[in-house]
Amino acid sequence: MMKMTTIARPYAAAAFEVAVTHNALSRWQEALSAAAQVAEDSAVTQLLCNPAMTKKQCADLFLDVLAPVLDEKMQHFIRLLAENGRLSALPDILERFKQYRAEQEKTITVDVFSAVRLEEEYQQKLTLSLTKRLGKQVSLQNKIDPTVLGGVFIQAGDTVIDGTVRGKLARMVEFL
């Protein structure tokens, strides 16, 4: 399935700008996350596809379910999405919003794959050196992957640092 990134971008950008102006980044992110969950629900996706549902009905559905988390501006946002028929893009909007926020606050989540669980001390050292290298606040997530054999596989967005024994063996095979 083709990603809806291109469609989601203007909406996410607009939502982000509003959130920044009102200094309400976390609240907006929570609201978007809840709305995205609703949009991903199988019953809701069926309803959204149904041509018998009018735009107002779709908007009302979301507003009713999400009433406790949405403030006025967020309600307008949902109505706008319903009018343009873009409610199904909510998960992608949430993703984009998170990216914008990460860029703004200079944070990044880094996945570290290792064969065995890394000790606290080692994780802290990694966090420090990665922070220095990437220039952003790093939050480390250690994931276990036995196929790594040894060493670590660090994934920060698109950049990948392969310090695994598996990677070295593969390169050695090619080189020799």
């Binding site: 083709m2 990603k3 698109d158 950049t159 392969d162 070295k168 080189f175």
Partner: protein
């Protein structure tokens, strides 16, 4: 007893050396995921740091080239077959713009568009590689074309001479002898030190095999590189094959040597590029070609040039001084029903320094090479001709032009005045003399003898259907009795009274023996 195989100790020593050279540091790279895979075009999500034209590594040693850098995805073409790729696979950036191996080790080999050998004679022993897309030498670094490139074909060398560093287009319908001219030129470069590159784009593999066999028969393969992107290969490979061949040719040019490259043919490269552009959703223009179809050919042909000694010295870091380098290009374009006003044909005609027109009706009436002398032109012309051919060939072109003017009157041969009849007959004899058998290129001296004979009227009393035989016998006679003179004339290429006297002596003494 001599041991020609390596002992186990030597093998382990070699492996140890290789291991020591191996870089064991962790590798940093940019990765992405395949989002869609269709018709050889791959859409990738991620790859934030990818460069335009960069080589991308797919699974299983397949490579691709990043062509469309869009906001949310990267469009890449697969350089090869895409059967083993799947949506969701990870792809890596290699950090290198597409490059191919270059060097003398490629001579005599048949390679594909990426430089991998396909002739079954083992890997190519070269460490050098060079990017496929390069900027052509600037204005300051160029030198005017003044050295001849002998094709060995009488009609070309006398009327549309080609110089080293020139671009001369060979254009004509299918089956008119375009490739034949190219092959004869390669065969004629046997002992001249000119390295040849034959790029086969979109051709049948059987045709390419026939070409390789012919070149091998005439001992021409040793100084030739053959780059093949046959019709069954991916469009991306057909698109980059000419650039890859050009890079291999530039290696020789930048060393102060002379090289010749033949693109057979650029029409198929334009088709392949059109296919890729349409699949990448770039807007189609005239004849559905993309907007940059002119740039596709112009940047390729601009790299064929003659460069001055300063450039060669700069690029060889001072190792080669005082020598000019050149890369001559003979692109081939196939027209449909003789229509030279089609889009791609007019583009390439405006880029090259002249064209050789081949016509089907000339071919069918037995005039081979089927060159239309009236429409063919070489914009470098006499500056790139040996003196002897220039002197003797000048009359030939003029006589043929006059003959064409009067050709309609040839039906009334008996009712015409003497002068007109003489012109007609001279024109007919020159046309006969210009015919040449395939794979029989002539040296400068042999050409001079033939041109002298026809120009000075020694053929005027020979019957028209006996001219070809007369020429063969004349050359045979000269080769056996005057081989020293031929060798000297080939060396010097000068024309003076002495040479003229000798030529006259040869022809008159032959005619005395001719029945």
């Amino acid at each position: 007893m001599q041991h020609t195989q390596l002992s186990p100790a030597e093998i382990s020593e070699l492996i140890k050396q290789r291991i020591e050279k191996f870089d064991i540091r962790a590798e940093t790279r940019t990765e992405g995921t395949i989002v869609s895979l269709k018709d050889g075009i791959v859409r990738i999500h991620g790859l934030a740091d990818v460069m335009q034209g960069e080589m991308i590594a797919f699974a299983d040693h397949t490579y691709g080239m990043a062509l469309n850098l869009e906001r949310d995805s990267v469009g890449a073409v697969v350089l090869g077959h895409a059967e083993h790729l799947a949506e969701g696979q990870t792809v890596k950036c290699t950090g290198r713009i597409l490059e191919v191996p270059v060097g003398d080790a490629l001579l005599g080999r048949v390679v594909d568009a990426l430089g991998n050998p396909i002739d079954g004679r083992g890997p190519i022993q070269t460490e050098l590689s060079s990017p496929v897309e390069k900027v052509a030498p600037g204005v300051i670094y160029r030198q005017p074309v003044s050295q001849p490139l002998q094709t060995g074909l009488k009609s070309i060398d006398s009327m549309v001479p080609i110089g080293r560093g020139q671009r001369e287009l060979i254009i004509g319908d299918r089956q008119t002898g375009k490739t034949a001219i190219a092959i004869d030129t390669i065969i004629n470069q046997c002992n001249t030190g000119v390295k040849c590159i034959y790029v086969a784009i979109g051709q049948k593999a059987s045709s390419v095999a026939a070409v390789v066999r012919k070149l091998e028969e005439h001992n021409a393969l040793a100084h030739t590189i053959i780059v093949v992107a046959s019709a069954s290969e991916a469009a991306a490979l057909q698109y980059i094959a000419p650039y890859a061949g050009c890079t291999m040719g530039e290696y020789f040019r930048d060393k102060g040597e002379d090289a010749l490259i033949i693109y057979d043919d650029l029409t198929k490269q334009a088709w392949a590029y059109r296919q890729i552009s349409l699949l990448l959703r770039r807007p189609p223009g005239r004849e559905a070609y993309p907007g940059d179809i002119f740039y596709l050919h112009s940047r390729l042909l601009e790299r064929a040039a003659r460069v001055n000694p300063h450039y060669v010295e700069k690029l060889t870091a001072g190792k080669v001084k005082g020598k000019t380098g050149s890369l001559t290009a003979l692109p081939v374009i196939e027209t449909q029903a003789g229509d030279v006003s089609a889009f791609v044909s007019t583009n390439v005609i405006s880029i090259t320094d002249g064209q050789i027109f081949l016509e089907s009706n000339l071919f069918n009436s037995g005039i081979r090479p089927a060159i239309n002398a009236g429409l063919s032109v070489s914009r470098v012309g006499g500056a790139a001709q040996t003196k002897v051919i220039k002197k003797l060939g000048g009359g030939v072109r003029l006589a043929l032009a006059q003959y064409r003017e009067l050709a309609a009157f040839s039906q009334f041969a008996s009712d015409l005045d003497e002068a007109t009849r003489k012109q007609l007959e001279r024109g007919q004899r020159i046309t006969e003399v210009m015919k040449q058998k395939q794979y029989h290129p002539l040296s400068v001296a042999e050409m001079a003898i033939v041109l002298f004979a026809v120009d000075q009227g020694f053929c005027d009393d020979i019957e028209l259907n006996k001219i070809v035989g007369f020429e063969d016998d004349l050359l045979g006679y000269a080769r056996s009795n005057y081989s020293d003179f031929i060798a000297t004339l080939n060396q010097s290429g000068d024309y003076n009274d002495e040479v003229a006297k000798q030529l006259k002596a040869i022809v008159t003494s032959f005619k005395k023996t001719y029945v």
